[in-house]
């Protein structure tokens, strides 16, 4: 057993989880939204689930929350099968395209859902004030939700998901419709939650964002788990090096192109690919021999997005 498994308790674990939806028309076969899905989420991590549209991400969250029923498989949350619904006291959820009763104000919404999560009025009151401030919605608290913009609704939704001080939070597209500054604020809130020991289960299409905050990700395609692992392992380093130098003369440029197969970006910048350290150092000697000053060498990383696109394209 890996060391990490010993240190961290798993908060969610599924084993051979499958979900079949009945097909809408008679001719078609059933829709297999999840196919023998097994995975674990550990305590205190931000876990991201990625996948193209219709991959089954929302279905997975809904099954974990008992909103949709599994067809087969085991699901444990806080070490108990989810048939025992008591875990819902310690869980928060922001649904995809959530829709609050639009006759409530922002403040009333938080109070209502807080109480539905089992809080008493006093606690709900205090946390409502605190979280309205946190998501920067204080000045809108007396306004009816039907007058909110999409991003405002999303902020309120996020506050709602944290109302009952949950151990585990499910967020389905939390930054959908939020402006870049708001997205940064939301990322900061999530990182704060993580540092206070909460576990976050995140579903997002914004891979650059996932890369910024997630510890581990699972990639889902057509209901099948394609890949899972730590973000830094998945986005493995490449053998591309970016060189920044003083001005390159014609002669050096030509040799870089022909001999070292470099990709020239400008007079001061080129990309060099080699798996061999010896080779690279020879190239550096050559540059130095021609009196070129090296300002920086950066080893390039594959982005999550590149990796994701390559993986899904290979699958389809």
């Amino acid at each position: 057993m890996p060391v990490s498994k010993l240190n961290f308790m798993s908060i969610i674990s599924t084993n051979n989880l499958s979900k079949e939806y009945p097909s809408k028309s008679f001719s078609k076969e059933k829709i297999l939204a999840l196919n023998n899905f097994s995975f674990e989420v550990e305590s205190g991590e931000i876990f991201g689930i990625l996948g193209p549209n219709g991959a089954g991400k929302t279905t997975l969250i809904k099954i974990l929350l008992g909103i949709t029923h599994r067809t087969k498989g085991d699901i444990k949350i806080f070490d108990k099968d989810i048939a025992d619904e008591s875990y819902k006291m310690k869980v928060g959820y922001l649904p995809e395209n959530h829709k609050f009763p639009n006759y409530l104000t922002g403040e009333q919404t938080l109070m209502f859902f807080g109480k539905l999560s089992g809080m008493n009025s006093k606690d709900a009151d205090a946390r409502t004030a605190e979280y309205l401030k946190l998501v920067d919605m204080e000045k809108w608290k007396k306004t009816k939700i039907k007058k909110y913009s999409k991003g405002m609704l999303q902020r309120l939704g996020l506050a709602q998901s944290m109302m009952n001080n949950p151990e585990l939070i499910f967020l389905d597209e939390p930054t959908d419709g939020v402006d870049p500054i708001g997205r940064k604020e939301i990322r900061d809130i999530l990182i704060n939650l993580k540092s206070s020991g909460k576990t976050i289960f995140l579903n997002s299409h914004l891979l650059s964002e996932v890369e910024l905050i997630c510890d581990r990700v699972a990639i889902l395609n057509k209901g099948v788990l394609v890949k899972t692992g730590r973000v830094e392992d998945i986005t493995a380093v490449t053998n591309d090096y970016k060189f920044m130098t003083s001005d390159l003369d014609e002669n050096t440029l030509n040799l870089l192109l022909s001999k070292y197969k470099a990709v020239i970006k400008s007079r001061n910048e080129f990309l060099y690919n080699s798996p061999d350290t010896e080779e690279m150092n020879k190239m550096i000697d050559f540059l130095r021999g021609n009196n070129i000053l090296i300002q920086s060498i950066v080893r390039e990383k594959d982005t999550l997005e590149n990796m994701f696109i390559n993986l899904i394209e290979k699958q389809n």
Binding site: K62, T68, P95, N97, H98, L116
Partner: protein
């Protein structure tokens, strides 16, 4: 606590959708009409009648008013109530709303029961206002405090509850407000009254015993709000109630429909 929050949310929804306001307006209108009628009478007919038949005459007059009142309530109020509550379930089931509700620590059974009891308490409170106020006005005017009239609050609420259970079921299955309204009004104002006079009207036209059996069968299994209304009038006028079967069978219908609704809601994916 969670159950109560959910139940009270029905009230908030009713206020937001101006249902209370509508009920208040209709009730006040009915009460004003009553006040007007009473005053007209007191000027002309009532004085005469008091002189001719004394206290008995006043009592008859009060009871007459009360029976008329129940008939109006039955038609107007039940219609209004059924139309008002029929959107509760479809709006709860909207995508993005039901997901969140189901993620909360409240069982699906309790969600249905909270919605049901919320609606019933809502109508009960409204009827206490309407019937109670009419009773108070009539009693103060006449000096005749006829308590059995107040029992009709209970009977009307029961009629409502029985049909409301069906509205919940149709709402769950179809997610359609319009369909819930159409089916419940059709049942209350067409099917039930026809079935309740089946012996006098239909059976004199149709002699086929199979058809008669089917119609009898339908009568016994379906709810009987119009028969319950008759019972409530019998109680006001002091006539003896022939049978409480319509009450028992309607309550059984209500419990059965609620159980099926809960069963359906529990197994459904959202």
């Amino acid at each position: 606590m969670i159950f109560l929050t959910l139940m009270l949310s029905t009230f908030r929804e009713a206020i937001a959708k101006k249902i209370f306001l509508g009920f208040f307006a209709i009730s006040t209108l009915i009460i004003l009409i009553f006040l007007f009628l009473i005053n007209v009478d007191s000027v002309e007919g009532m004085v005469n009648m008091m002189e001719s038949s004394g206290e008995e005459g006043i009592k008859q007059l009060v009871i007459g008013f009360q029976v008329a009142m129940i008939n109006i309530s039955y038609l107007l109020i039940i219609t209004f109530c059924l139309v008002s509550v029929s959107s509760f379930i479809p709006s709860m089931l909207e995508k993005g709303n039901i997901d969140l509700l189901l993620s909360k620590p409240v069982s699906r059974t309790n969600i249905i029961l909270a919605k049901f009891s919320g609606g019933v308490v809502l109508i009960f409170v409204s009827l206490v206002y309407l019937i109670g106020l009419v009773w108070l006005i009539l009693s103060l005017k006449s000096g005749f405090w006829h308590v059995p009239f107040l029992y009709s609050i209970f009977w009307l609420t029961l009629s409502f509850a029985v049909v409301y259970s069906l509205i919940i079921f149709i709402g769950l299955v179809s997610q359609s407000t319009v369909l819930s309204i159409i089916i419940s009004l059709f049942l209350v104002f067409i099917i039930c009254p026809i079935l309740s006079v089946r012996e006098e009207v239909i059976f004199s036209l149709v002699s086929n015993s199979t058809v008669q059996f089917i119609i009898n069968f339908l009568y016994y299994i379906l709810p009987k709000p119009s028969d319950i209304n008759k019972i409530s009038m019998n109680i006001i006028t002091g006539e003896s109630v022939v049978s409480y079967m319509p009450v028992y069978s309607s309550v059984i219908f209500m419990l059965a429909v609620l159980s099926v609704s809960v069963w359906y809601f529990r197994k459904k994916d959202y």
